[in-house]
Structures are given as C-alpha cells and as structure tokens.
Symmetry: C2
Subunit: 301 residues, 2 copies
C-alpha cells in the first residue's frame, strides 16, 4: 500500500468539493489555479462547471497547469419514459464522452439514474427492475462510442438511499455484473482472464463502505475494472441525504483499510476527494478546504 | 396472494406510527382502544410505550381487546465496548424477551446496533466487521433464552444508511447468513430442509426495497424465516434519514410485488405499518392516521 503521509502526489480534488463557497460559485478556472498552486496534480471537474468556464478554456488551463483528470463528472442518467427521452439521454452522454476526451480524463464517471422522474419528485413508475434494464441498455449503447474514443466508462454504484432518484445501481456487485455482461472477461492465454479496461467502476467509499460484500467484490473487480477511487467520510449523525458528507477523518469510514483492498488489486491511481457539504465545507474559504483536503489525505486516507 | 382490498383483517399497526401526534405522546392504551374500535386486529408496540403504560396494564388491554402482536419492538443493540456494556445489553435483551412473552408477541424484533457509540455521535471505532461479529455473538446468546421461552427472534436488516449508528446488518442476505449460522437448517426426512422457526427475519420494505438480491433472498428465507412483514413507503425526495417515511402509496416502493414474493413463500401473517413521519403523519390526528392506514392497506399493500 502506498505511503500517502509524506506528500499529496496521489490526491485529486473533485471540484464539487469547493464549487460554491459561502454561497457564491467558485469559478472552475480559479479552482484549477488554487489546486495547481498547492501542488495538487489532479482534479475531477463537473460538466456544469466546465460549461460555465468554457470547454476549450478549461482544457487549456488543465494543460498549462499540467493537471490530470482522475475522472470526468458525469455521464449517466440513462432511464427514460419514451423514445425521445431515451434519445436525449444518449445524445447527452455522447457529448459528455466527447468533453471527457477533450479534457483528457482518465474515465467518464456514470451516475446511472433512478426511476424516471423520481429526481423531480414524480416517479413515472415503481418498476426498479425495468429501470435497471434501461441502465444496462444505455451503458451498452454508450460503450460502443466509448471504445471508439478509447475513453473508459466507470459505473459508480450509489448508496442505496439514492436508488429511487439518482442511481439504481447500488452495490459494487451490481455494477460488476453489468461490466461482466457488457464487457465480458476473455481468456488471456496464460490461464487467467483479461478485461478490456473499457468498462469498470468508480469506487466511492461514501456509497459502498457499509457493504458486507465490499472486500469480496473489490477482489472480483481486479485492476482493470477499478477505474476510480473516491473518498470522503460518513458522519454520525448525517443530517442531509445529499449534502452532508464529511471530510476524511471526521466520520466512521475506515478509509485506509479499504484503500489497502483496492491497492492489493493493483490500483495505483488518484484518491479523489468528493465532498458535498452544504452546512460545513461549502461555508468556508475554498483555499482552506483544499488545504484541509491535503492534510487529511496525508493523515486519514 | 391474499386479497387485502375488501377488509383489513391482516393489518397491524406499529404503534410508533401514531406515537406522538401534534407534539404530544398518544398514550399506548388509547392507541390500543383506537385500533380496536376500528377493527384493527394486531399491533406492534414499542418498549418505551409499554413501559409508560405499564406492562401488566398493556397485557390486560391487549387481551381484553383480543389484539394480537405482530411483533414487539424491540431488542438488539448488541454492540459493546467492554464487558459491562456487553452484559448490560444481554440483560436488557432478556427483559425485552420476557416482556414479549408477557404480551404474547409473535416475535421479538431485533435492531442489532451499529458501531458502538455512533448513535450518540461518538463511534468508539470504525471496525464494522467487529461490530458485526459482536452482533452475531449477541444473537447467539439471546437465542438460547429465546428458545427456552419459545419466543422467535426476528433480525431486522436496516437500510444501509443506518449501518453506522443503528444496525450493521443491512441486507436480507446478511441477516439470513446469521440465521443459518446460528440456527442451521436440518434435513426434515423428506429430502428437504427444515428450519426451527426460532430465528428469522423481519422484512421491512423501507429497508430492503432497493436490494437487487431481494427476490432471491426472500426465496432463500422461506416460510420459517419470514417472521414479520413491515410496510410504509420511500418518498422522493426524502428529507430526513430517520423520520420522513411515507404512507403506503405515497412513494416509490412496489409493495404488492414484494408482498407477492413473501406470500409465495407461505408467509400468511400481518402486514405491519410502521411510519416515522415527523413533519407529516405525526402532525395529524391519530385517528385520521389510523383511518388512512386502513384505506391504504386495502388499496396499496
């Protein structure tokens, strides 16, 4: 397991962590400057932030700072109610894919969607199995484009508390079942199996830390499926289902233990900090938040 | 599948559903009167409500109304930090067991506990695996007493959002693994396996509705392990992790589909309504809530 205590070369900042400090949007290009100034080598920006800053301007800033993208947030939202909404989702995902390529992201992260309409408070139906089937179908269609562009797709299982409205893939096992169905392992000629690397998972500890099958499924995933590793912490109490994530070290997730499991499979990428925190971290100075991320990355990840 | 549309003979009211209406505790004995007056045949009271009303007075009221108890809420909270807290949990669970016997409950429901201290906001450690081991140990110890008293223990898997502070058994599969470990199936002489009925699960749809393995695990459970069936609904959005449960029909849970799965295994018990709803149902007249439960039981369960 890598030693993170001496530097922060494997720290990545998901830019949602500092997206709206004290009520005002922190512009993406300023976030990139602030990260680069601190020796942070990687980020994961959100599409709306990129759109606000301009795709080309963002790509230039990333290149000029020498930043890497541990992932691009996000594609997905595959579930639909009719042919038009299905096509709209496909078109939007292709655009996300193209943006990820322009920015040189390591992968496009997929938050797959829940029951259609549920995020707006009006679920079109209660058939979770059909929503899950739509997700598999949507990823299958996008995977063709992703292979062409050599942009890996990372399915992010979301915590079961988001099953209705954000993502109906809720465990690592479920995500890996989709991976194996759409991108089957093939014999590699040495008696083992190889995976293409085109489709894998984003392991966000906030979503998966509780799972009794976690260790088993990380092992199942193996190196080629482990495309991203996200950290924050689970607070007790948690006061909001979406925006009360904790800074690493402030909650109950045994992050080093899980990082050890992932690294035992050969994962050697960035540890991406993604914290939605309306009442705490979004109320502070963005630079202070970044400094805290660096310190906690060294001490608690 | 039983037809619930014509009457409410299989409706049970978990008394937390109407425990504090408009800010004031509704005394348990009044709740029992109100249920009986509506032809509701079963309830599931909480220990603190019983303690406030008096155990003997509660038992008398239950008998005089001819009410059944679909379950008794609750035992559990097995996790500990030292020998004294372990012993205190054991003693308290034995008392719960005795109360369940006095009240003639169908089972004692177990909410197993999370990381010790987490419910008070100060987790003693982050070792979820050790908490889970303590839970298995605690249930094993209690099971001896439960067998003597012929009081079934129903492990209630809680939603993963409660893994830290309330229950580290978070899927039906995990609960059934504990059941099979502590109360192993034995050959019944006809080529099938029998389960003793001493240990099983409480399937609360709020906690398990999202689980991709739900149908498979309900089938695995079979009739002897299916000791209780709890309903409410999952709202979109959900504004509070604990006290924003919905009335059946107001959310996204496909209750009839899951009831069909449970009944296909031979479950023929009560459908117990358990709704914690600080901002909505607890702000209404208790009689109105009970009437709504009856109507929704017929139409949406």
């Amino acid at each position: 397991m890598r030693d993170f205590s001496q530097d922060h070369r494997w720290l990545s900042i998901n830019t949602a962590t500092v997206r709206k400090q004290r009520g005002a949007d922190w512009p993406l290009l300023e976030i990139l400057d602030a990260c680069a100034a601190r020796g942070i080598r990687a980020v994961a920006p959100w599409r709306d932030q990129v759109a606000a800053a301009g795709l080309d301007a963002t790509a230039r800033a990333i290149r000029s700072h020498g930043l890497e993208l541990s992932g691009y947030c996000r594609g997905g939202m595959f579930t639909y109610t009719d042919a038009a909404s299905r096509q709209a989702a496909r078109d939007d995902n292709r655009r996300a894919l193209d943006e990820a390529c322009t920015l040189g992201a390591a992968c496009l992260v997929l938050v797959v969607g829940g029951l259609p309409g549920a995020l707006a408070g009006k679920a079109a139906h209660k058939d979770l199995a059909s929503a899950r089937a739509q997700v598999t179908e949507g990823i299958a269609a996008l995977l063709d484009d992703a292979r062409e562009r050599r942009m890996p797709l990372a399915i992010e299982p979301l915590h079961p508390m988001y099953a209705a409205d954000r993502a109906c893939i809720n465990t690592l096992e479920q995500a890996l079942d989709v991976c194996d169905a759409l991108d089957p392992p093939v014999p590699d000629g040495t008696g083992r199996e190889a995976r293409s690397g085109a489709l894998g998972v984003a392991v966000d500890l906030y979503h998966v830390w509780w799972d009794p099958r976690l260790a088993q499924q990380i092992e199942r995933a193996g190196r080629e499926r482990l495309l991203a590793f996200h950290v924050c912490d689970w607070l007790t109490p948690t006061t909001d289902l979406l925006n009360d994530r904790g800074m690493m070290g402030d909650g109950v997730i045994d992050t080093p233990r899980i990082r050890a499991l992932v690294e035992a499979q050969g994962f050697a990428g960035y540890s991406e900090v993604e914290i939605f925190s309306a009442a705490n971290w979004w109320q502070r100075d963005g630079g202070e938040v970044l400094d805290t991320c660096i310190e906690r990355h060294r001490r608690c990840v």
